[in-house]
């Protein structure tokens, strides 16, 4: 059973199909939100909001206009952009509770430490990008998403999506190169 069929069943009020849909799409949504530079707690809140909106508005989904996964990611993107615009006045602090609660003297494993440093480096760079640039970059790393689907999520033409993605990648490279 694919996600588009499950979403159509969800529109008819099928709660089992809805849970199956969440299970199938949750990794993509969390991956997308994480790559937008959102912390784990915020990503969880936005992902939960996204799926509840999917449930509420399932009858608005038109399978002729695109796949369910694209529609769901577009909802997640809009909620993430709203969050980023509200949070733009304050500095986003990554909420790594596990690390924060660990005793100071507990050494992190090399790999975990490296991942944490890489994540911090990417977060610092992403904060210097516009929310829409963060969104299109994150979408480009969602597995199985082609340029046409990215364009649907970003609500622009395929050509515009390609150009915006190129510009965002170049800007991120420059920012990372400067740090």
């Amino acid at each position: 059973m694919d996600s588009t069929s499950d979403l159509c069943r969800t529109a008819a009020g099928d709660a089992v199909a809805f849970q199956r849909l969440v299970e199938a799409q949750q990794a993509r949504v969390f991956g997308f939100l994480g790559r937008m530079g959102l912390d784990a707690a915020t990503s969880e809140d936005i992902a939960q909001d996204t799926f509840l909106r999917v449930w509420r508005n399932a009858r608005s989904f038109d399978p002729r206009l695109g796949a369910a996964s694209t529609w769901i990611l577009a909802i997640a993107r809009n909620l993430a952009l709203t969050h980023l615009s509200r949070a733009s006045h304050r500095r986003e602090v990554r909420n790594d509770e596990a690390a924060a609660q660990a005793p100071c003297h507990a050494p992190l494993a090399d790999e975990a430490l490296m991942r944490k440093e890489q994540r911090a480096r990417l977060d610092a760079a992403l904060e210097r990008l516009a929310p829409a640039e963060r969104s299109i970059l994150a979408a480009s790393y969602v597995e199985g998403l082609d340029l046409a689907s990215i364009a649907r999520i970003e609500d622009c033409s395929t050509g515009a999506a390609k150009a915006r993605l190129h510009r965002a990648r170049e800007k991120l490279k420059r920012v990372l190169g400067a740090t």
Binding site: A15, R119, L176
Partner: protein
């Protein structure tokens, strides 16, 4: 640098917490579904077509007036 970006983005994804789907499904039971939007109908285009027609008529009238004025001079 492209490899650097790919590597950085690979580490940036979050994992959904255990039981997330079941929790969301349970929450959805308290949320009612919105009704489907009304189907598209050609009648919805009538006001738009009427406005476009009136606009075109106005432009044509202005062009005719400008032409007659220019010809008279």
């Amino acid at each position: 640098m492209a490899d650097d970006l790919d590597r950085l983005f690979k580490t940036a994804a979050h994992e959904p917490p255990q039981g997330f789907a079941a929790r969301v499904a349970a929450l959805s039971r308290g949320v009612s579904q919105a009704p489907a939007p009304p189907p598209f109908s050609l009648w919805r285009l009538v006001p738009l077509a009427a406005s476009a027609g009136l606009g075109a008529l106005l432009v044509a009238e202005f062009a005719l007036f400008a032409f007659v004025t220019a010809a008279a001079q």
